[in-house]
């Protein structure tokens, strides 16, 4: 079989002779290809949306955690804290001055990693935070080595975008007799800029002034708001934490379908306070962690290094002595960890406390994989419709072989070789499916466009998916056209002329 310009011409002319049949067959193919393209567009749209969000929310993140948990020796208990007074540059020096007058200062120095208020043998000359506040849970779970001045110093590193100090604890929050046990975050005002996926269904985040004045304002995660206030707007209401009144200024919701708020998660089943307020009330000078974002994602490694160097210098850590902090960049975590880990799996179900410890990158990867599976599923469903379209073509072609036996005979009589007939029928089928396919690509493109425009789902029509759709339609044409074409080419010239 030799396909020449003439065979294409012959096939085109033959198709033109049966316009309705040609059109109907083509529609089958068009629908199939349009479906495949739209499905792939939806799937990969979801994937690229995830990638965008991961890039936006996670990849430029560096978390500096107090303590160095990688070393067994010098292990720092999670809730250990030093009395603030050992660092005269701390903000709340006057308030904590009593500690420096303790006659057993030297002893405390040797045990400086332990929270003095946690030592049962300790005799305090000042009331512990739980005594002062009258809440037995207050003051638990704070860590040791990082300070607000550390965070301020990090702010001055070039390439740093936002820095937020962080103190994290579990706490009971109450409103009119309803109590809810949740996660307390003491953060900086810049936190909403770091967590880009946040929205504020009610109110706002606390302001810079409120943070500077250590005011007793609180922002509720959407879960907490729901548990305490139901559907009501809590803004302006006063809730109780550590027996202290806090004014609710806002509610945080999720602006990303990637993270659905659920009870027990770390972002939305949580309350947010100015870090200064937490330090003032709990009598803390230290931070659990410092969250840093870089201006550019490619700068994370350099900034991490700069942060580590700065902190070592500030903490007067000698050469060959391990860090008393841990710098974790999302990028490094992503490189270090390949497969899906249990905590990632848990994070996906939104059921883990400490969601921020799971890298968004890993989460994104998992979701990516999930959406790839989804795309494959959608595409395979769409492929079924393509196959149906292909069988439609085959049916029409087989029918026309019978129906057009006379035509085949005429062509053979005027000199068409059996290869010419094969070429004609095969090309007819390919032209049908490819033209139908191209139309389908156009329609699929328009449909995907309208979906993102009117339904606001992200879709992306990649050149690859166009190529795949086109390839599939051509393949369908060849695959389902070959058998009928072969039948046609085997029609003997004599039989075809006798056929009435």
């Amino acid at each position: 079989m030799i396909i020449t310009k003439n065979s294409v011409l012959i096939a085109l002319k033959a198709l033109r002779r049966n316009k309705l049949q040609t059109a109907l067959t083509m529609i089958g193919m068009t629908i199939g290809v349009a479906t495949v393209l739209t499905m792939i567009a939806l799937g990969s749209g979801a994937q690229s949306a995830i990638q965008d969000q991961v890039r936006a929310a996670g990849m430029n993140l560096i978390v500096v955690t107090a303590g160095n948990y990688q070393l067994r020796q010098d292990a720092v208990p999670d809730d250990a804290i030093e009395p603030a007074a050992f660092h005269p540059d701390d903000r709340f020096v006057p308030q904590l001055r009593t500690a420096t007058w303790d006659p057993r200062t030297r002893l405390q120095l040797t045990r400086s990693f332990f929270h003095p208020e946690d030592d049962p043998m300790e005799k305090h000359d000042h009331p512990t935070s739980r005594q002062r506040l009258g809440d037995s849970e207050a003051g638990l779970g704070s860590a040791a080595t990082l300070t607000i001045p550390d965070a301020d110093a990090i702010r001055k590193i070039s390439g740093v975008q936002f820095v937020s100090e962080g103190i994290h604890e579990n706490a009971h929050i109450a409103f009119e007799g309803k109590r809810w046990f949740t996660r307390m975050h003491g953060d900086d005002v810049s936190m909403p800029m770091i967590r880009r996926a946040w929205t504020f269904p009610h109110g706002r985040y606390f302001s810079k002034r409120e943070e500077a004045n250590a005011e007793q304002v609180i922002v509720l995660g959407s879960i907490v708001s729901e548990k305490l206030f139901g559907d009501q707007n809590p803004v302006g209401k006063t809730v109780t934490l550590w027996n202290q009144p806090f004014k609710v200024v806002g509610v945080i919701g999720s602006g990303s379908w990637m993270v659905a708020p659920s009870a027990g998660d770390d972002q939305f089943d949580a309350i947010y306070l100015p870090v200064t307020t937490v330090q003032k009330l709990l009598n803390l000078s230290k931070l659990n962690d410092i969250t840093v974002t870089t201006v550019s994602t490619g700068d994370v490694t350099r900034v991490s290094k700069a942060v580590a160097d700065l902190l070592r210098a500030r903490h007067h850590i000698a050469f060959r002595t391990p860090d008393d902090f841990t710098v974790t960049s999302q990028a490094r975590k992503a490189l270090a960890k390949g497969g899906m880990r249990p905590e990632v799996a848990r994070a996906v179900v939104g059921n883990v406390s400490g969601l921020e410890k799971v890298t968004l990158d890993q989460l994104g990867k998992t979701l990516d994989r999930a959406s790839a599976t989804m795309t494959a599923l959608l595409a395979s469903i769409a492929t079924v419709s393509l196959i149906v379209g292909g069988i439609g073509i085959m049916n029409i072609m087989l029918l026309s072989v019978t129906e057009r036996t006379r035509e085949i005979g005429i062509r053979r009589a005027v000199g068409a070789r059996s290869g010419d007939v094969l070429a004609q029928f095969l090309l007819e089928s390919i032209l049908l499916s490819v033209t139908g396919g191209l139309l389908g690509i156009l329609i699929g493109y328009l449909v995907s466009g309208s979906i993102s425009k009117f339904v606001q789902w992200s879709t992306s029509v990649s050149p690859l998916s166009v190529a795949i759709s086109f390839g599939i339609s051509a393949a369908v044409g060849i695959f389902f056209g070959y058998y009928p074409a072969r039948q046609a080419s085997r029609v003997l010239p004599i039989t075809s002329l006798r056929y009435e």
């Binding site: 310009k5 000199g415 068409a416 070789r417 010239p493 009435e500």
Partner: protein, 251 residues
């Protein structure tokens, strides 16, 4: 002179269920260039089988068939297709034109299958020429269903002549036509023979039609019963003068 067609001991046997049907029983025949041979015989006499073998649409069971001195009975399918394409022109009883296709496109069909590609303009020019030769240049864009039977047959003749074939095979060409149109078609055949020297083999069951040929070969039961020059040859041109002009030909 070398015969255009030379068949020797040609046999064709069909298997119809249990029975073998002998359509041709060892026939031999020579046809010289520029002859107008009419093959006449009742249906089932084997004349159509002969025509199909002469036209390379069918293969003989045994025997030899020389076309232009070349044995075509044992050629490959592709070679035979090429022979059909440029050495043989067909005119059928049922016209066998492509439906929903213009007269012009029907006529240029053989050129689409010629060995060396013919450019579109050249195809069109030659097809128009062939249509003009049968007086249908004004109908070139008409689809076949818009043409009368006589016109359709003339389109078929134009198509058959397009590649300047050695022989023109006509199988009951007037079977579906009224008497005047039949005479017109016969006139075309006769003038093709006289003016262009084309060899014509015409098959018919009507002795009246056979009388237009220069030689009449009579068939019966798969054998040639007579093969003689036609002494009472009819002349279509002369007869046309006396026939009333058909309505469709006006305008």
């Amino acid at each position: 002179m070398t015969p255009v067609i030379s068949i020797r001991n040609l046999t064709k046997t069909y298997q119809m269920g249990e029975n073998a049907v002998h359509a041709l029983r060892s026939i031999s025949l020579d046809i010289q260039p520029s002859e107008f041979v009419t093959v006449v015989g009742p249906s089932g006499s084997g004349k159509s089988t002969l025509m199909h073998i002469l036209g390379c649409l069918d293969q003989p069971t045994s025997g030899q068939y020389f076309l232009d001195g070349k044995d075509v009975s044992r050629l490959s399918d592709d070679e035979i297709s090429a022979v059909r394409n440029n050495k043989i022109g067909f005119v059928f009883q049922g016209f066998n034109l492509l439906t929903r296709t213009s007269a012009l496109e029907n006529v240029e069909l053989p050129l689409l299958y010629s060995k060396d590609p013919v450019p579109a303009a050249e195809r069109r020019r030659r097809a128009m020429e062939a249509l003009a030769a049968v007086g249908l240049e004004s109908r070139s864009e008409h689809h076949t269903n818009q043409l009368s039977g006589g016109q359709q047959q003339r389109v078929a003749i134009a198509r058959a002549l397009l590649n300047n074939p050695s022989i023109l095979l006509a199988d009951e060409p007037t079977g579906n036509l009224d008497s005047r149109t039949s005479v017109e078609v016969m006139d075309i055949f006769q003038s093709l023979k006289e003016e262009r020297g084309i060899t014509i083999v015409l098959i018919t069951h009507e002795p009246d039609v056979a009388a237009y040929g220069s030689r009449i070969v009579a068939f019966r039961d798969g054998v040639i019963v007579s093969n003689e020059a036609n002494t009472q040859r009819r002349t279509a041109r002369a007869e046309l003068v006396d026939l009333p002009v058909a309505v469709e030909e006006v305008g």
